[in-house]
Amino acid sequence: MIDWTGYIGLILQGALVTIELTLMGSALALVMAFAAGLGRLSRFAAVRALATTYIEFFRGTSIFVQLFWAYFVLPFAGITLTPLQAGVLALGLNVGAYGAEVVRGAVRAIGREQHEACVALNLGRYQRLRHVILPQALPLMLPTFGNNAIELLKGTAVVSLISLTDMTFQAQVVRAQTGNTLIPFATVLVLYFAMAMAISAGVRWLERRAARGLDGVRV
């Protein structure tokens, strides 16, 4: 009989790494999403081109290829990253590119009259964005951001392949040590699903908060 408590402990340690990666990756993705999403709406052609290149590049290749590139090729350019740094960088930049399209779509969905009203009220570009456009665009972005965060969570499994000890990696360790396959893999599948549920519950809560005070502004 195998003593499972130790092995389950190992998987839970991996779960912490997965959560850490998801949180840090999401933070970077959020920054990149707004930077590139607003960049695509810039009035400067160079900024638009830069944002478009970033988005197309990271959406065109898979997270796996980007991760391997960050981990194995960047050292030759003199940038050596730890597996955790490479993981956060690849996940954040990849999901950020998807998020950028969400930001752009949501900002563009805000009606022309809102922009015109801002001009009429003599608001500056920054004020317009900060006080009028974004508060209305944010609730539109949140549901898709939730899906993107779940995609990011699922993407973290890939970092196990560059020897980061996340949940998937630990499941493989447990498999190698015990020879049992069903228990480690079923456990991590359930844990991933629980995390995904937690993300969608959190996003629904945020949606309710963000929509507060917007009654009557939009249907």
């Binding site: 197309e56 590049f57 959406r59 065109g60 290749t61 898979s62 796996f64 290829v65 980007q66 391997f68 590139w69 194995f72 090729v73 030759f76 779940i150 969570l153 699922k154 993407g155 973290t156 499994a157 890939v158 196990s160 392949l161 998937t168 499941a171 493989q172 498999r175 396959t181 069903l182 893999f185 079923a186 991590v188 599948l189 991933y192 699903f193 995904a196 549920m197």
Partner: protein, 220 residues
């Protein structure tokens, strides 16, 4: 370390060999996903909640968990209960099931988007249920689905490098083995990236075409 073109041409045949497997896995996976997604979509519409509920939960579970772990599950757990699969077959089944759950949502949305009045009109003009499906509902439901399905097809293509983790000798795995034996990572990894980028960009152009061709049926 410098970029070496001679090395690039030397490894090109191996990488193209891998690319063939990548494309094969994508096409087979797409066929499995299209069929499996249809089964899921029909089961989920079942009037019997004992069928619809568990199928819905299964689809949510698959969509909420990583493809990599699902591949491991298929590749390592199934042999213990006597089902032995070759890596490629395991990979195709994994891709097919994962993207089948996404395809099911596309089918569901496509069918739900046909207005109720169309159904009622078809029934009122005395068409049988079969005729209503074939001549009225499906011709309106399918064209808007095509761009969405193509989108997931491209997404699936980009996920195929994961199959290297269960020892399928596709593009990524070939690149890794070349890199490991020659200790040169920069060319193989960059080339894999370029291959994926080029094929994705071409697919995106094709997708835009499909969107224009099929997205707005009612305006034709």
């Amino acid at each position: 370390m410098e970029w070496d073109w001679a090395f690039v041409w030397q490894i090109m045949p191996t990488l193209l060999e891998g690319l063939k497997i990548t494309i094969l896995a994508t096409v087979l996976g797409a066929i499995v996903a299209a069929v499996f997604g249809l089964v899921l979509a029909i089961a989920r519409r079942s009037p019997n909640p004992l069928i619809a509920r568990p199928v819905g939960f299964f689809a949510d579970f698959i969509r909420g968990t990583p493809l990599l772990v699902q591949l491991y599950f298929i590749f390592y757990v199934l042999p213990d209960i006597g089902i032995r699969l070759s890596p490629l077959v395991a990979g195709v089944i994994g891709l097919g099931i994962h993207y089948g759950t996404y395809a099911a949502e596309v089918y569901r949305a496509g069918i739900d988007n046909v207005p109720r009045g169309q159904w009622e009109a078809a029934r009122a003009t005395n068409l049988s249920i079969r005729q209503a499906w074939i001549h009225v509902v499906l011709p309106q439901a399918i064209p808007p689905m095509i761009p969405a399905l193509a989108n997931y097809f491209i997404a699936m293509f980009k996920e195929t490098p994961l199959l290297s983790a269960i020892t399928v000798l596709e593009l990524m795995n070939q690149a890794k083995s070349v890199a490991n034996s020659s200790y040169r990572y920069i060319e193989p990894m960059t080339l894999v990236g370029v291959f994926f980028l080029v094929i994705s960009l071409i697919s995106v152009v094709a997708l835009r075409f499909l969107e224009e061709r099929y997205a707005r049926v009612d305006e034709r």
